[in-house]
């Protein structure tokens, strides 16, 4: 009877396509918006994840997320270094000076200052140049977004100069950065140099990057730092999630995306459910005839579920294909970098689509099950 079920569905071309469209549209909206949301949340942690050398972040207890930092004192760095079980600790500066090209083009940039001696925290995915060149005078490493903004249409070339708060900065390297939340250019320089690019404040130490000694777990190291210094210590992952939760809790971003995803879910369910129900109503006499002939309710339920499953699989495939195509087409756009279709989102959307088609078929199943087969004898 599976063959009969599929023929019934495919035979009504208009409703079949309507069902497919509803599910595909719903799938596309849910997976696309979820991916953008996940991408934005991932962007909020970019500068954390771009530091592969250290896995412990130490900050003021009141620091809620990466982009809003209460500066530490230089003493804090030494206190962390003095904690038992910490192999090493280095300073990290984060500021937002204004950079200006010689043609007058200017923009606020994110300036990261890494430890002068070790360069811990510097980027590793270099396009041109080396991290060690940061040791040269006035040296900065700039990401591709920054370079292409300040030198549009020009080939990648080292040695070009910019002004950072009226101070000279020479580009000694170009690297691939993870996209930051605000999509600003991200510069790196030595700590001692970076603090001179921003206005003087009493304290300038943003974070202390640290590494646990061999045999000491990250969790234990964090506990020891917090106990010894009164500062907040977290692993990269914990700090990343702390930042993400801040944006989820304190911005309208999740609500905006949630509304869109919710609308997609509701519209998809309603349109698919209504179309499926009409399809069933129009075939009610045929279902009644099948019941009279001796097809069981279980078999008819299976037929309807098979129809729903086929619609779900085809609609989901089209919708998820559209989402994947979108991110494939836009993957080289620097403004949209960092957005991609995660397998978790594809799987979650698939499960949701399954719920949609099951919900859509429930009304139809109920209608058919309560239909008396004697209906076929009523002209």
């Amino acid at each position: 009877m599976n063959f009969v079920a599929l023929q019934m569905l495919l035979g009504d071309r208009a409703k079949y396509l309507g069902l497919i469209f509803a599910v595909a549209f719903s799938t596309f909206l849910m997976s696309h918006q979820s991916s953008i949301f996940a991408g934005i949340m991932r962007r909020t942690t970019s500068q954390i994840m771009d530091v592969p050398d250290a896995n412990l972040w130490v900050m003021d207890r009141k620091t809620q997320y990466f982009d809003e930092v209460k500066a530490l004192t230089d003493d804090d760095l030494y206190r962390v270094r003095g904690v038992s079980g910490i192999e090493w600790a280095v300073p990290l500066f984060k500021g937002t000076p204004r950079a200006k090209a010689f043609d007058g083009n200017f923009r606020v940039v994110i300036m990261m200052g890494v430890d002068d001696a070790t360069l811990v925290g510097a980027p590793r995915s270099m396009v041109l140049g080396t991290v060690n060149d940061l040791r040269r005078p006035d040296a900065v490493i700039v990401d591709r977004v920054g370079y292409e903004f300040f030198f549009p249409g020009q080939a990648y070339e080292l040695g070009k100069t910019l002004e950072l708060n009226d101070r000279r900065a020479t580009i000694v390297g170009i690297y691939n950065s993870s996209a930051p939340f605000q999509n600003l250019p991200v510069f790196y320089s030595r700590y001692s140099q970076a603090i001179n690019y921003v206005g003087r404040e009493r304290n300038l130490l943003s974070f202390v990057l640290a590494k646990a000694a061999p045999g000491i777990s990250d969790a234990e190291a964090c506990r020891r730092i917090e106990a010894a210094t009164g500062l907040h210590a977290a692993t990269s992952s914990q700090f990343g999630w702390q930042t993400i939760w801040y944006y989820i809790a304190h911005t309208g971003i999740p609500i905006n995306f949630g509304i869109t995803i919710g609308i997609a879910l509701v519209v998809g369910t309603i349109v698919a459910g209504q179309t499926f129900y009409i399809f069933t109503l129009e075939n009610l006499k045929q279902f009644g005839a099948l019941k009279a002939i001796g097809v069981t309710n279980w078999r008819i339920t299976g037929m309807i579920l098979l129809q729903a499953l086929l619609v779900g699989v085809i609609g989901f495939s089209i919708g998820i294909g559209m989402t994947a195509a979108f991110f494939e087409i836009t993957k080289n756009n620097l403004d949209l970098r960092g957005f991609s279709l995660l397998w978790q989102i594809a799987a979650g959307t698939g499960a949701t689509v399954l719920l949609i088609v099951m919900a859509a078929s429930l009304m139809s199943i109920r209608r058919v099950l309560v239909t008396e087969p004697a209906i076929v004898f009523r002209g």
């Binding site: 009969v4 495919l10 002939i293 097809v295 004898f377 002209g379």
Partner: protein
């Protein structure tokens, strides 16, 4: 008429008594609704449909013909009385047993054909076999052979919407016969057809459906098809008021 002649397996789940009458109803009642809204549609029906005969159930609209047919077919449970179909007291069957009984033993011809619009003629005729779990190719081949016998050899792959009313009813007839049931119930099989086509369908029904080991019950109010009956049961106000055998019928000829 009620003598028990043998014991035979008519279904795969139990042995039942086989009678000479395919259908035997005694004082069958059927009520719908309850309380003040209760409506008695069947008011003590006595009815016989012997094997090897075509029995017509006739009467004015609303007299209970279709309800009686539904009760005989196991699609409705009687409120009272006894009804034996192919020796089986259908009132004692559970829901699933009733479905299996229908699937194996009954063939249906409906007034509006009720063919599945997306299936070809051969696939439509094969539905009872598919419902019984017969593989698709074998079922469609068997249905195609039957349709060829019914004169639709060239229309096997045609959709119902591209068939005339008479052709659709022949497909419905093939669907009723394909699994070789022992009782065929037809509800107004000619009402949607013109006289000539209706005559042809009834002629075909008489030739291919009526056999010694099978009974055919036809509900109709089309007096033009009475000539095909071996027996005519007249219903009025929920009762069988008269049963007769037309003089020109095969039944009457055999009796004489």
């Amino acid at each position: 008429m009620n003598a028990i002649s043998e014991i035979s397996a008519v279904d795969d789940f139990r042995y039942v008594e086989v009678e000479q009458s395919a259908v035997s109803a005694r004082r069958v009642t059927k009520e719908f609704g309850s309380g003040d809204n209760r409506v008695s549609v069947l008011r003590g029906v006595d009815f016989e449909a012997p094997f090897g005969e075509m029995t017509l159930l006739v009467g004015p609209s609303g007299c209970g013909k279709t309800t009686l047919l539904s009760v005989i077919a196991g699609l409705l449970d009687p409120t009272g009385g006894q009804i034996s179909v192919l020796g089986q007291n259908v009132g004692q069957l559970s829901g699933s047993e009733s479905i299996r009984f229908r699937r194996k033993n009954l063939g249906f011809v409906f007034q509006q054909y009720n063919l599945l619009p997306a299936l070809t003629a051969a696939e439509n005729a094969a539905v009872p076999l598919l419902a019984a779990g017969v593989p698709r190719k074998r079922a469609v081949d068997r249905a195609s052979e039957l349709l060829a016998e019914l004169g639709l050899k060239d229309r096997l792959r045609t959709l119902p919407s591209q068939l005339s009313g008479g052709q659709q009813q022949r497909v419905a007839l093939a669907r009723a016969l394909v699994h070789k049931p022992r009782l065929i119930v037809c509800d107004e099989p000619t009402s949607a057809l013109d006289h000539e086509t209706g005559h042809a369908v009834m002629d075909l029904l008489t030739k291919v459906a009526v056999r010694d080991d099978r009974a055919v019950i036809v509900v109709t109010h089309d007096s033009r098809v009475f000539q095909f009956a071996d027996r005519i049961a007249h219903m009025d106000d929920g009762r069988i008021v008269k049963t007769e055998a037309p003089e020109e019928s095969r039944f009457a000829a055999a009796r004489n």
